[in-house]
């Protein structure tokens, strides 16, 4: 397939891995931020191609994984109401809340539907004026503009039966929290290509300066990731801490201005809880007061709902790159994709699910 096969070419991939091996002189700990990148690394076994000096730890960039328990409970509360049609991206449906998940709400008679775009939810609201339609808007800066557009569209049409349960989070504050935490081991970051497509890489320049840590904006195909790793290793070996862009076919310094404008019209920066990590100041987005009529938290009065995270799941440490999924006592035994204790075991992008699906007992195959 054009524009894909080139980035999955085995000989190019091998050459890049060899270049990393030639350049590296000592161990480095690298983190890919985005869950989509984790998935590619595991699916193609990229880590198996790299020299042992490269240690890859997996970042907090899986939107499903970092959505806090109380937001999932809010979703379940709203979706359980008889007059509500609850529309969500597919992988949020299996995320366990404190008692149920959305699949079970559906099995219990709730009108829960899977969509590929928030605009589908707007369409459902338009076609069914008698139903209250709520879209579950999770994700990073990547999905926020489309969700903003859905609110703007609903506002333009005066669709009062549409609202959005928004739980958006932002990457740069999470990186700051990670680098500030005392146990941090990460020495270089593969910055998230899709987030940067929207936001540009401007925001990462002060981070690289302040923390003296290199960033390379990376894509999502095997060759993208290997090239990003090669660029990161080169920076580390040369003692540089710059922001470089590997994903040039999609990312620019300033990003997509139109998308950013839509985003800031509807959303404002706010404190946000991250599942397993806790509250990070100014790390998320909430719907502006101007659009309160489309904010499901306010429409359904679930703003004040508070829930504590379960203790047995080490998702927080996994999401911060301090532990690997296999370090968890519950991994693959108490916690599996069929019975997930924590969100990283649910989403295909979650580090635990990626390890479970692609690696589980490969260790003993050798």
């Amino acid at each position: 397939m054009k524009y894909l096969d080139e980035y999955r070419d085995a000989s190019i991939a091998r050459a890049l891995a060899a270049a990393v091996a030639r350049r590296i002189t000592r161990p480095w700990v690298l983190m890919e931020i985005c869950g989509g990148q984790t998935h590619t690394l595991m699916k193609y076994g990229i880590d198996q191609m790299l020299p042992p000096e490269v240690e890859l730890v997996h970042g907090p960039g899986c939107p499903v994984c970092v959505t806090p328990l109380e937001v999932v409970d809010k979703a379940i509360t709203i979706a359980s109401r008889p007059n509500v049609t609850f529309v969500s991206y597919g992988d949020m449906l299996r995320v366990p809340g404190s008692r149920l998940d959305l699949f079970r709400v559906k099995a219990g008679g709730g009108d829960v539907r899977i969509a590929y775009s928030p605009m589908e939810a707007v369409r459902v609201a338009r076609e069914h004026p008698g139903r209250q339609v709520v879209f579950f808007a999770v994700g990073f800066e990547t999905t926020a503009p489309a969700n903003a557009m859905a609110v703007l569209q609903a506002a333009r049409e005066g669709l009062r039966n549409f609202s959005m349960l928004a739980s958006h989070v932002l990457v740069p504050p999470a990186i700051r929290a990670l680098l500030d935490s005392p146990g941090n081991r990460v020495q270089g970051f593969i910055a998230p290509g899709h987030v940067c497509t929207v936001m540009g890489y401007r925001e990462y320049l002060p981070l690289a300066d302040h923390y003296r840590v290199p960033f390379v904006v990376g894509g999502f195909e095997p060759v993208d990731l290997l090239e990003a790793i090669r660029m990161l290793v080169a920076q580390l070996e040369e003692g540089r801490a710059e922001v470089e862009n590997q994903y040039v076919r999609s990312v620019t310094r300033d990003g997509n201005r139109g998308a950013q404008e839509a985003l800031s019209r509807v959303f404002e920066v706010a404190d946000r809880k991250w599942r397993g990590i806790g509250e990070i100041p100014q790390s998320g987005l909430r719907i502006r007061d101007e659009y309160a009529a489309w904010d499901a938290e306010r429409v359904y009065d679930v703003e004040s709902l508070r829930v504590d995270e379960p203790a047995q799941c080490i998702a927080g440490e996994v999401l911060k790159g301090m532990k690997k999924p296999v370090d968890c006592a519950a991994f693959g035994t108490l916690c599996t994709p069929e019975n997930p204790l924590g969100a990283p075991m649910v989403s295909a992008e979650g580090a635990c699910a990626a390890y479970y699906s692609y690696r589980r007992n490969l260790v003993c195959i050798g």
Partner: protein, 336 residues
């Protein structure tokens, strides 16, 4: 903990489906014939070996590119018989109709079903109709039950794979699932994808005529090739390794899977089969398959190995290895 209820995932052909079988149906119905867990039962009556199977079809939309629920109901049941090496003879059809369904729609489906049966050489000899209240069904469900003749001495089973055996696939994967999904989601692709729905019994006949070294035949429907291979590996207590570059996937199906965030190994097929055969016979079998219109792109995609019973792995184009697991429920579209 919550009380267990049936989830949509219980019908996905993955681990949840297997759990229902293990925890509910097998304990209730336990007997040695059912316990073989094949796509069909082979029963002996007065010295005649009969293959017997049943399947229910709940596809949405009812009409899709490459077929409809009627033709699918014929092909699905024929294929379950064919995977036991049997010659399909007779079918029953039972309709569950929802109040309000247009008679014209029903007529079109009945005609398609009849045409599919005629062209496959099977006869519909009995049937039933029930109507449920509006809202208690989704337009129309069809059950078909099939009877066929199983050849003397033939014993195909998912438990018969042996280390060293070849894994053969009859053609490109994922066509049916993507055809249905793209139509359901209203996705239009430049090259429209058609379902591969087709009766496989003549292909199987050609394979069995050329070789007695076929150990197992399976059609990778719900849950795709990955679920089928996982079942074979588990039942035969072997591991299976497949080669990523050997697995044929149509360009347009690959594109749709990329777009939708799906893995073709988990997408349903309705006109493909997986065969496990002795390594020495693999080339002959593949040649015979390629001579048949439904097996033109047949090829060996992997090997059966010793050790790690139940494990299926894939060697990527980069030479690295990963697990091909059985899914818990349906593949879920990802956020981004």
């Amino acid at each position: 903990m919550h009380r267990m209820t049936v989830l949509l995932g219980h019908g996905s052909g993955g681990k949840l489906s297997a759990e229902l079988m293990r925890d509910v149906f097998l304990p209730a119905f336990s007997n040695p014939i059912l316990g073989r867990l094949e796509d069909q039962a082979i029963v002996e009556v007065n010295g005649t070996r009969l293959a017997f199977t049943t399947d229910t079809f709940v596809v949405k939309p009812l009409f899709f590119r490459g077929g409809d629920i009627g033709s699918l109901a014929v092909h699905g049941t024929i294929n379950d018989l064919a995977m036991g090496g049997a010659r399909p003879l007779f079918l029953s059809t039972a309709f569950v109709l929802e109040e309000g369904l247009e008679i014209d729609t029903l007529r079109r489906i009945a005609q398609s079903l009849a045409a599919a049966a005629t062209s496959a050489g099977v006869t519909i000899v009995t049937g039933d109709t029930k109507v449920v209240e509006k809202g208690s069904g989704d337009q129309l469900f069809i059950n078909t039950t099939g009877i066929g003749l199983a050849p003397e001495g033939l014993n195909l089973s998912a438990g018969h794979a042996r280390p060293g055996d070849a894994v053969i696939l009859s053609g490109p994967i994922g066509d049916h699932g993507i055809a249905i999904l793209s139509q359901r989601e209203g996705l239009e692709f430049e090259c429209p994808i058609s379902s591969d729905s087709a009766p496989l019994h003549t292909l199987v006949e050609a394979m069995l005529a050329i070789s007695s070294e076929i150990r197992c035949l399976r059609d990778p429907t719900r849950g795709g090739v990955s679920s089928t291979l996982n079942e074979i590996a588990a039942q035969s207590r072997v591991s299976i390794q497949i080669e990523e570059k050997a697995i044929p996937v149509r360009e347009e199906v690959r594109g749709a899977c990329e777009l939708l965030g799906l893995d073709p190994l988990y997408v349903a097929n309705e006109g493909k089969l997986v065969a496990i055969a002795a390594p020495s016979a693999a080339d002959t079998i593949v040649a015979a398959m390629r001579a048949h219109p439904l097996g033109r792109e047949a090829r060996v995609i992997g090997r059966v190995n010793d050790g790690h019973p139940g494990l299926v792995t894939l060697r990527t184009v980069f030479g690295s290895t990963r697990i091909v697991d059985m899914l818990a429920g349906d593949q879920l579209p990802r956020i981004c």
